[in-house]
Amino acid sequence: MKTFKIGGIHPPENKLSANKTIQVAPLPTQAIVMLGQCLGAPSTPVVEKGSEVKVGTLLAKSSGFVSANLHAPVSGKVVKIDEFIDASGYKKSAVVIDVEGDVWEDAIDRSTTLIKEIKASKEEIIKKIADAGIVGLGGATFPTHIKLTPPPGKTAEVLIINGVECEPYLTSDHQLMMEKGEEIVVGITILMKAIGVNRAIIGIENNKPDAIAHLRKIVAQYSGIEVCPLKVQYPQGGEKQLIDAIINRQVPSGTLPVEVGAVVQNIGTAFAVYEAVQKNKPLFERIITITGKSVKTPCNLLARIGTPFSQLIDFCGGLPNDTAKIVGGGPMMGKALVSVDVPMTKGSSGLLMIPEAEAQRQTIRNCIRCGKCVSACAMGIEPFLLMATSERAMWEEAESAHIMDCIECGSCMFVCPSNRPLLDYIRLGKAKVGAIIRSRK
């Protein structure tokens, strides 16, 4: 069984919401659409207070090379464009829409008929994807259309589809593969056409045998697409780890995956691409897992962007009393939220309620040099050393110890027997070293 070669851990999977059918979350009464939802520049609003919008109406335009369009997830009236606390805990600009009915833009095809034939040309596909505001739905939220246009001189050979979902608890991709397998595979053929490759490989960890079997059956009707089962290991869903696992190539430090001929897209992204290209549907809703050990009914929900998390939690049985920490995303890389009023964004793959007993970090002790962080590191760097150099502000040493290679997967901190805040310090070091590197240019 294939997997990546360096480091890795196996945290308890806790896939509480596995095999739970995707339910449609109720519409919010008010949608809060954050303007900065993707990696890169926040979008520029094209509506103003009082504008009437339909579901799918363009709300804000991409404002730079790395940026994406935003569409209204609900129909109604824009009541304000104001600052709002988002998942980062800081106030950011958002468009607030009071919901009236559920009127969709006419151009959107709301039927469930599967459209296999791809009429759009390569350029049209990329334009449609850009127009629809699609970003990487695995969590990084990098605008998809940019990834589809490799830098000059580089050619992609293979499209890798990330169906790994290696974060504990999360099941949204798994359930999507089970329910929308056909659409995903058509989405993959669209992406293949856009990139100009004739080979695609879907990587799925073998803790999802049903998804592997289901997609294998579907891809048998297509040429050039295969399913690659992978041994369960975190962080296999990391782009670099996935490429290593599937095509046995490693992306050189500081370069893009296309350097080794690979383009990686997430399962959810492939589905969004299908909807955008074949159904004219912009990205304004997604699948999100609402989960946690004390959550009454852990769910996979299809929810509109801009829905306050509190409403999704209520739908799944309400906020458990013992909740001490709420994480947007999975437990390894997700962000702790300051409140449940934070709205859903394009990158919201999950919402995890952590009970009190597991929410507190344990007492930090001396490093005992056990080397477990070194063994766990999926980038083959030395977390203990990076923390030590960052703690002492030794930025040059941190840089030469390859601190910028860190993908912040958290494996080092997960295994540390002394509960050392390795990743906290590495993040600090990355910020400092990154600034130093940029100032040299």
Binding site: I6, T323, A324, I354, Q362, N366, R369, G410, C416, P417
Partner: protein, 330 residues
């Protein structure tokens, strides 16, 4: 609005802790302790309890009254140091010597450097070598194994297999002749031979090794490279001159080699952190051990070999780096 804990990811932890690792190693040492209690009886019990108690008390007193900090004796590291220290001495050692050894191990080798995690040398081995140099007679007179003996200081003593060999070779005896005087291979496996308290039973130590691997407390790299280096080195010597040099089986199953390779060389704090580093470190320990045993003045060299390589650990950590992702393509 309710308040939530906000901290950066990761939000879950493996539950691994210093205590779990330390108590895991202690559990892995229990089979060997049981064998010692059988063959060395009361002496083994007195020495083990003295060593553990002294180490824990010294650590507590130093942390509480000298360093004025929070004592961390419950993390199990002082208990482990005490146990390992006891394992490395003859079971008829006078109590006061054991206490002095514990004071050196904890006071000098561990706490002066800042406690657990900061000590450059394995505390138990530092204590043991201090005792070996300071009390050479007591540290090299081993009681003969009996079944549950109640003798302690006045136990009947005899030499270890390594001692018998060293002495015999020095007298000009042939190896074939010497080999008739040492315990049978079965006795070496179960531990019916002279030696330090915890080093005698190969089987018990190997059971501990399997437990440590199963609990993922250590990896195979250090023990296997130590034992492998000893096997290869002694096989070459034995092949070159079978009458002067004993073979791999003798060297692996006698003395403190297994105890050292499995439990002392693998000490987290004083061994390298990368797998390649561990292999280099282990190989060098094996080579130095045999150099001392065969060409040196002492019949046994495991402790010195490990301490010497402890000194090289920072250097190994600095120059031997783990294989980095994406490096191979450069």
């Amino acid at each position: 609005m309710s308040k939530f804990i906000v901290s950066p990811s990761p939000h879950i932890h493996s539950g691994n802790s210093v205590q779990k690792s330390m108590y895991g190693v202690i559990v892995a040492l229990l089979p060997a302790l049981a064998v010692s209690l059988v063959f060395f009886g009361l002496g083994a019990l007195i020495i083990t309890l003295t060593a553990i108690l002294s180490c824990v008390i010294f650590e507590y007193v130093i942390q509480k009254y000298l360093l004025k900090g929070e004592p961390t004796i419950l993390d199990g590291s002082a208990i482990l140091t005490g146990l390992l220290l006891a394992f490395n001495v003859p079971s008829n050692l006078p109590i006061w010597m054991m206490v002095v050894g514990a004071a050196v191990a904890i006071g000098i080798a561990k706490m002066t450097f800042g406690g657990l995690g900061n000590n450059p040398f394995n505390p138990a081995l530092a204590g043991r070598v201090f005792m070996l140099i300071s009390f050479p007679v007591h540290m090299t007179s081993w009681p003969k194994p009996e079944i549950l003996p109640l003798t302690y200081i006045d136990a009947v003593t005899g030499a270890t297999p390594l001692g018998i060999m060293k002495e015999g070779l020095a007298k000009g005896d042939s190896l074939t002749n010497i080999m008739t005087q040492i315990p049978s291979f079965t006795d070496m496996l179960i531990g019916k031979m002279g030696g330090s308290l915890g080093e005698i039973s190969a089987i018990a130590l190997l059971i501990g090794f399997v437990y440590l691997l199963w609990k993922k407390i250590i990896t195979w790299h250090i023990p296997v490279s130590v034992i492998g280096a000893v096997a290869i080195f002694t096989a070459i010597l034995h092949g070159a001159n079978p009458q002067a040099y004993a073979g791999p089986v003798f060297h692996i199953f006698t003395g403190g080699l297994l105890l050292g390779a499995i439990f002392m060389a693998t000490d987290y704090v004083t061994s390298p952190m990368s797998k390649t580093g561990m292999l280099i470190y282990g190989t060098m320990i094996g080579v130095i051990t045999i150099l001392i045993r065969v060409f040196g003045a002492y019949p046994e060299g495991v402790s010195f070999a490990i301490l010497i390589m402890n000194a090289f650990t920072p250097l190994i950590n600095k120059y031997i780096k783990p294989k980095r992702y994406g490096e191979i393509l450069k």
